[in-house]
C-alpha cells in the first residue's frame, strides 16, 4: 500500500493566524503551492519543508508525518 505524507500545516498556520498567501510570501512560493501541500496533493521538496517548518516555528517532523495510504 503506498504511503502518503500527512501534514499539520493548516492547523499550525491557523494557530498563528496566517493566511495561505502570507505563509506563501514568507517561504517564497505562490499561494497555490501552500494550498497543494496542505491538501496533500503535492509533496514538497526538503528545502520547502524546511522553510515551512522555520516559518511556522516547528520542526519538519512535527509538521509532516508518513501515514499509510
Amino acid at each position: 500500500m503506498p504511503e502518503r505524507l500527512a501534514n499539520r500545516l493548516k492547523e499550525r498556520r491557523t494557530e498563528l493566524g496566517l493566511t495561505q498567501a502570507e505563509l506563501a510570501e514568507q517561504v517564497g512560493v505562490t499561494r497555490k503551492t501552500v494550498n497543494t501541500v496542505e491538501n496533500g496533493v503535492f509533496v514538497p521538496s526538503t528545502i520547502l519543508a524546511l522553510k515551512l517548518a522555520k516559518a511556522l516555528d516547528r520542526s519538519v517532523e512535527e509538521l509532516f508525518s508518513i501515514s499509510p495510504g
Binding site: 510570501e25 512560493v29 505562490t30 497555490k32 503551492t33 503535492f42 520547502l48
Partner: protein
C-alpha cells in the same frame, strides 16, 4: 509573398494581439509580487486548456484532408499559422512565460509546484507524441504520409496532451480543499 508567409505573419499578429490585450487588461492593478504571481498563475491555468482546445479544433480540417499532400495555397497558410501557434504554446508550456513581467514575478510563478506540474505534463506529452509517431508508422502502411503530415500528427498530440494535463494540474492546485 506566398500563402505560407502570410500564414506565419497572421499567426504572429494573433500572438501579438493576445499579448497586447493581456497587458491592457492588467493595467492599473496595483498588486504585490505575490498577488501578481497568483493572479497570473490562475489566468494561465484558465487559458492553457482553452488554447489546447482551440489547437485541437484547428487540426480537424487538417486531419480530414490527411494524405492530400497539402499543396494548395490555403494549406500553406494554415501550416504557417499552425507553426506560430505551436511555437507560442510550446514556449508557454516549456518556459516560465510572461516575458513582460518583472523577474521576481516570473520566478515566483515558476515555483516548485508549477515545475512539478510541468514535468508531469511533459511526461504525458512525450508518451502521446511517441504514440502518435507509432500511429503514423501504422497509418503509413496503408496511406503514404509526408514528413510534414507526420510531424503535424506527432506535435499536435504531444503538445495538446501536455497542455491539457498542465492546465488540469494547475487548476486543481488552485482549488481550495
Amino acid at each position: 509573398m506566398n500563402a505560407f508567409m502570410i500564414g506565419l505573419f497572421v499567426g504572429l499578429g494573433a500572438v501579438l494581439v493576445i499579448a497586447a490585450i493581456t497587458k491592457w487588461r492588467s493595467r492599473n492593478r496595483p498588486m504585490s509580487v505575490a498577488e501578481k504571481a497568483d493572479y497570473l498563475s490562475k489566468r494561465r491555468a484558465r487559458t492553457l486548456p482553452a488554447l489546447a482546445v482551440i489547437y485541437f479544433s484547428q487540426q480537424v480540417s487538417f486531419f480530414s484532408s490527411l494524405g492530400d499532400g497539402g499543396h494548395r495555397g490555403v494549406d500553406h497558410f494554415k501550416i504557417g499559422a499552425w507553426i506560430v501557434l505551436s511555437l507560442a504554446l510550446l514556449f508557454a508550456l516549456a518556459t516560465k512565460g510572461f516575458l513582460f513581467q518583472p523577474k521576481e514575478v516570473r520566478d515566483l510563478i515558476d515555483d516548485e509546484n508549477t515545475r512539478s506540474n510541468r514535468a508531469d505534463a511533459m511526461r504525458l506529452g512525450f508518451l502521446f507524441a511517441c504514440s502518435a509517431a507509432l500511429a503514423a508508422y501504422f497509418i503509413a502502411e496503408f496511406q503514404p504520409l509526408t514528413v510534414g503530415e507526420t510531424a503535424h500528427l506527432v506535435l499536435t498530440f504531444g503538445l495538446g496532451a501536455a497542455l491539457l494535463r498542465f492546465g488540469y494540474l494547475e487548476r486543481r492546485a488552485h482549488k481550495d480543499a
